[in-house]
Symmetry: C2
Subunit: 217 residues, 2 copies
C-alpha cells in the first residue's frame, strides 16, 4: 500500500460520519434500519415531527431518499417504529416487576425507576408524542391500545399493592394517572445536563409518592 493511499484512508476514517452507510458497507440491513429509526427519533424530538421531512432525514444519514425507502415505508411508519422502540424498555420493566416477588409497592417503585430511564432515552419523546401527531386512524388506534395496556398493567400493580397491604386504599386509576403524569412530564423538562440523573429523580418522586407531603402539623 502506498503512503498516499494510507494517508487518504486515515483522513477518511477521521472524517467518518455517524452513518452506517458511510461507515462500513458490510453493516447489515437491520443495523441500517435501526440507524434510520434512531436518527428520526432524534430529529423528531429536536425539530418536531411535522418539521422533519424524509429529505432532512436522508441528508442527516448521508443517503438519498430512495435509499431510505429500502428500509422504511414512510414517515408515519418511522414514527411508529420510534414509538415501539420507546415502549419496549417500559414493557420489559413491567414484565420484570410483575414476575418479581415481594410487596407490590416495591415492585411499583421499581417500575417507576425503569420508566424514568426510558422516558429520558432517545425514544422517550416519540413514545410520549406519537399519539399527538395526527397519524392515520390505524396507527393511532394501535398506539392508543399499546399505551392503554401499559396504563392497565401499572394500575394492576397498584391494585396488587392495595391487595397485599403495601399500598393504602386509594383511587387506583387516578393514582396511576398521577404517577404517569409525573413521569411523562420528565420527558418534557429533562435535559441530559440536568443536576440529577434519571434514577435520582425517580427516587425523589418515589419519596413524594411513598410518604406524601404532609408535615408535622
Amino acid at each position: 500500500m502506498s503512503a498516499t493511499s494510507a494517508r487518504s484512508r486515515r483522513a477518511k476514517a477521521l472524517d467518518e460520519p455517524a452513518s452506517p452507510w458511510a461507515a462500513r458497507r458490510s453493516v447489515g440491513r437491520a443495523l441500517k434500519r435501526d440507524a434510520v429509526i434512531l436518527a428520526a427519533a432524534r430529529a423528531f424530538r429536536e425539530r418536531g415531527y411535522h418539521n422533519t421531512s424524509l429529505d432532512d432525514l436522508a441528508a442527516s444519514l448521508k443517503v438519498t431518499k430512495p435509499t431510505l425507502y429500502l428500509y422504511v415505508p414512510g414517515k408515519e411508519a418511522i414514527l411508529f417504529e420510534c414509538f415501539l422502540a420507546g415502549i419496549a424498555p417500559i414493557l420489559a420493566t413491567l414484565d420484570d416487576c410483575e414476575k418479581a416477588g415481594g410487596p407490590a409497592r416495591e415492585r411499583l417503585f421499581a417500575f417507576i425507576r425503569g420508566y424514568a430511564a426510558a422516558i429520558v432515552g432517545d425514544f422517550g419523546w416519540c413514545m410520549l408524542r406519537a399519539e399527538d401527531q395526527h397519524l392515520g386512524a390505524g396507527l393511532s388506534r394501535r398506539i392508543k391500545l399499546l399505551k392503554a395496556g401499559i396504563d392497565k398493567r401499572m394500575r394492576a400493580l397498584i391494585e396488587a399493592g392495595v391487595g397485599d397491604g403495601s399500598i393504602r386504599a386509594c383511587d387506583t386509576k387516578m393514582t396511576a394517572f398521577a404517577l404517569a403524569g409525573a413521569l411523562n412530564w420528565m420527558g418534557h423538562w429533562y435535559r441530559e445536563d440536568a443536576r440529577l440523573k434519571p434514577q435520582e429523580i425517580a427516587d425523589r418522586f418515589i419519596d413524594v409518592f411513598n410518604r406524601g407531603l404532609r408535615g408535622s402539623d
Copy 2:
C-alpha cells in the same frame, strides 16, 4: 314590515352560526377577537396546530382570511394569545393562594384545584403545547419565561410549606415537577364526559400527594 321579511329574519335567526360576525354587527372588536382566539384554541386542540390553517379558522368563523387579519396578525400570534388565555386563570389562582392566610400546604392544594380546572378548559391544550410547536425564538422565549414563572411560584408555595411545617422536608423542585406533571397530564387524558369532574380529580391527586401511598406494612 312584511310577513315575508319577518319569516326570512326568523329563519336566519334559527340558522345563526356561532360567529359574532354573523350574529350581530354591533358586537365589539374585542369580542370578535376573543371569538377568533377561542375558535383557534379548539381547532388546535382537535386537529393540532400544524394541521390548522388560517383558512380553516376563517371558514369555521364564516369570515374571509383578510377579515381575520383585522383582528390578529397571524397564526403564531393567535397561538400565543391562546397560551396567554390558558395561563391567565393559573396566574389568578396563584395570586389568590399567595395572598390567602393559613398553612401553605392548604394553599398549595387550593392551587392544585385551580390548576386542574384551568388545564381542562378550552385553552389548556394551548397552554401546555404552545412551547412544542417550534415557534419563532422571541415567542418561545416569552412562553418559557412565563411557564418558568409559574413553576417558580409553585415551588415557593411548597417551600413556604416546609417553612411553616405544613409540608415535610422534601426536594421542592422535584416535588413541584411531580405535581405539575400529574396536573399537566390531565390535559392529555381528560375528556369532558369523564366519570370524575376536574375538582374530584384534583381531590384524588391531593389525597395521593398529601398522604402518600404507603400502606400498613
